[in-house]
Subunit: 395 residues, 2 copies
């Protein structure tokens, strides 16, 4: 069987994602779409607005065949680590073609990444405080004439770098994103495709009429039924503040990515008179110019989850394939590749795993539920959950 790989967050799953799945199968002629999807927290350090099971279900209903989780130690990371984690999992599942959206689908990103390697080897003095793409963009443009600046291009470039770094055999298929640009915040009346961030914005504003036209019917229903994830940010900030008020600066200094004395600034701002009263204003108050907003949000999530450097490093060195769900095609593909998979396949999490390899994802699930006001609910995010088997004939 032929499979095509996709890397996604589906936060939430929308019409553009459905189109992308369809196109991915069409351009590659694949029988099954294998999707590695962020779990309960996404790359910007925010909780996903629907949990990983809901998002899995929606993806399976709308074109995905095999859903696996991108563990939190890869999902909530800068682009290059995010890409590496995702490509490693797809490759471990025998996927050798990757389809992704790009502003410039005509570009050969693998070649671009090779050129960038040559620049790096030639000793370009990259500014380490910049993102990888930003650090090399000027040199790369001089060499290749291509300006690496659009968000999907940058992500595509990260995938290509990951493919080279991991030395895996994976063909890259950039495809044009339909209609909405990533940063578009508005949804027009006649639009069928909008970006996930514009959909989240519309949800925050309660503009359901804007959301209706750009997501599948089942996404709409899930969003309407689910807990009020609009309150996520307030609860998140309250818990974060609590941690900053109770941990010692020494404890906070051990958190992954806590650098340059940031822990002192965090405690200083959290304990100040007239301390910021919202998460957004807090981030602005602690952020230095050398940090991007997203990096600061990720560091705050690591702080919230209390993930220490050593725990993160141990987890990253010990990845796995966590099954979230499949269709019959996905299951068939899985049976075919199972024996030669290059990472352990996990279909069910028991107490042992929850305390070992899976501990960070397990913890992330518990905290997601706490944020969603579902703590201690009968159905947890991990323990004893089985992958969803979606049977198309039941539709």
């Amino acid at each position: 069987m032929k499979a095509v790989g996709i890397i996604a967050e589906y936060n939430p799953f929308h019409n553009g994602h459905a189109y992308h799945l369809q196109e991915a199968k069409r351009v590659t002629g694949a029988d099954a779409a294998v999707v590695v999807m962020s779990g309960n927290f996404v790359q910007r350090g925010e909780p996903a607005i629907l949990d990983k099971w809901e998002r899995t279900k929606l993806a399976l209903h709308n074109g995905a065949d095999l859903m696996v989780e991108l563990p939190v130690f890869s999902a909530v990371q800068p682009g290059h680590l995010f890409a590496e984690g995702a490509v490693r999992i797809l490759a471990a599942l025998g996927v050798d073609e990757l389809v992704f959206g790009s502003e410039h689908p005509e570009v050969d990103f693998l070649d671009l990444a090779k050129q960038a390697e040559e620049i790096q080897e030639a000793g370009a003095s990259a500014d380490k405080t910049q993102t990888y793409a930003a650090a090399y963009a000027a040199d790369l443009e001089e060499k290749t004439g291509f300006k690496l600046e659009d968000p999907n291009d940058i992500l595509a470039f990260s995938y290509a770098k990951a493919v080279l770094k991991l030395g895996v055999d994976m063909k890259l298929h950039p495809i044009a994103r339909k209609a909405a640009a990533y940063h578009d915040q508005d949804i027009d009346d006649d639009q069928a495709i909008a970006s996930a961030s514009s959909i989240r914005l519309a949800l925050h504003k309660g503009k359901w009429d804007r959301v209706e036209g750009v997501v599948p019917a089942d996404t709409l229903q899930a969003l309407k039924e689910k807990p009020n994830t609009l309150a996520f940010e307030g609860v998140f900030f309250n818990l974060l503040r609590y941690r900053l008020l109770t941990d010692t600066v020494g404890q906070l200094g051990q958190v992954y990515q806590m650098a340059e004395g940031l822990e002192h600034r965090l405690v200083g701002v959290a304990t100040a008179k007239e301390a910021p009263q919202s998460y957004q204003s807090f981030i602005k108050a602690v952020k230095s110019k050398r940090y991007t907003f997203a990096r600061m949000q990720r560091t705050m999530l690591y702080t919230l989850l209390n993930i220490k450097v050593d725990q993160m490093q141990a987890a990253m060195a010990d990845s796995y394939i966590r099954l979230l769900g499949f269709t019959d095609e996905g299951q068939a593909y899985l049976s075919e590749v199972k024996r030669k998979a290059r990472l352990p396949i996990i279909s069910r999490v028991d107490q042992g795993l929850a305390k070992a390899n899976l501990r960070l994802d397990y913890k992330a699930g518990l905290i997601w539920q706490l944020l969603a006001g579902q703590a201690g609910s009968q159905e947890g995010q991990d323990l004893s959950r089985r992958p969803i088997h979606y049977m198309k004939e039941n539709d």
Copy 2:
């Protein structure tokens, strides 16, 4: 000047407290009542329903002359440590008479404590898992004929033990408590005095008519104006649960009074499917027979405040006199004893103190404000706060 000492929580300040202050001055002929009062958390491990400044003001309005804080490392402790901390502070301020309520005011508690010492020296095999009073009560009754079992008697006995242990010169004056017994939960229509716990219960039930008759007018007003402290328990539990979900068992094991593998039980219950949904049911689920409910609540507060064994021990070894407020009489008494005070007197907390000696009280204040939804409010609990100077003539 002659001063009389009183040990209190004032949670909240009620008519019985006003009567007690009046009587204390009357029976001792003292010019000034010196009160050492628990700060923002009380002995049962709960947040006080009004902050320490509100309670100070109410006490000064109603008969107290000098208010000092019983630091959290003494205030939230079993009876004998609570008593030791309070007696040490009063003695350090030159107070040599202590008035307290008792079910048996005719008893000579100092003599009773001496008899208990003799029993202890004679090698009675006390059950270490019991409270001190419970462990010695039977032997004490056999020797003296007095049954130590009523709550105020037990507290009185603790004060006497502390006086002996610290070797301070302090006369003890038990006085009869008027009307309400400590455990009485009902407030009758024609009652002017009710216990603090019955008042809190009435507040929780929204029975303001019950509260009106048994507290001074200014207490009533403060209770009506102040944040909804009825929600304290839910917020407390949410933060506690968050800590239990994010700290390692190793980190939790370092918390003061975490013993007998309790940390494992806490995490187990917090992460269980269908975990308890209220603080009360959570405590019941984790509590073993060897723990009293109050001890378990105190341990949960230490966990919430993230107070480690070494921090607690360092703090207990380094006490101080934190001024909360005074009347003119209190101020005059303070001037008289200031130079010979046997503990440092702190009238203003700066950043240095907040990071050193005062760190646990400072942290407790921040967390109290977080629980009360006042985090980052302009007026903090400690930094730059000056003692309240209450001028009676302004009344």
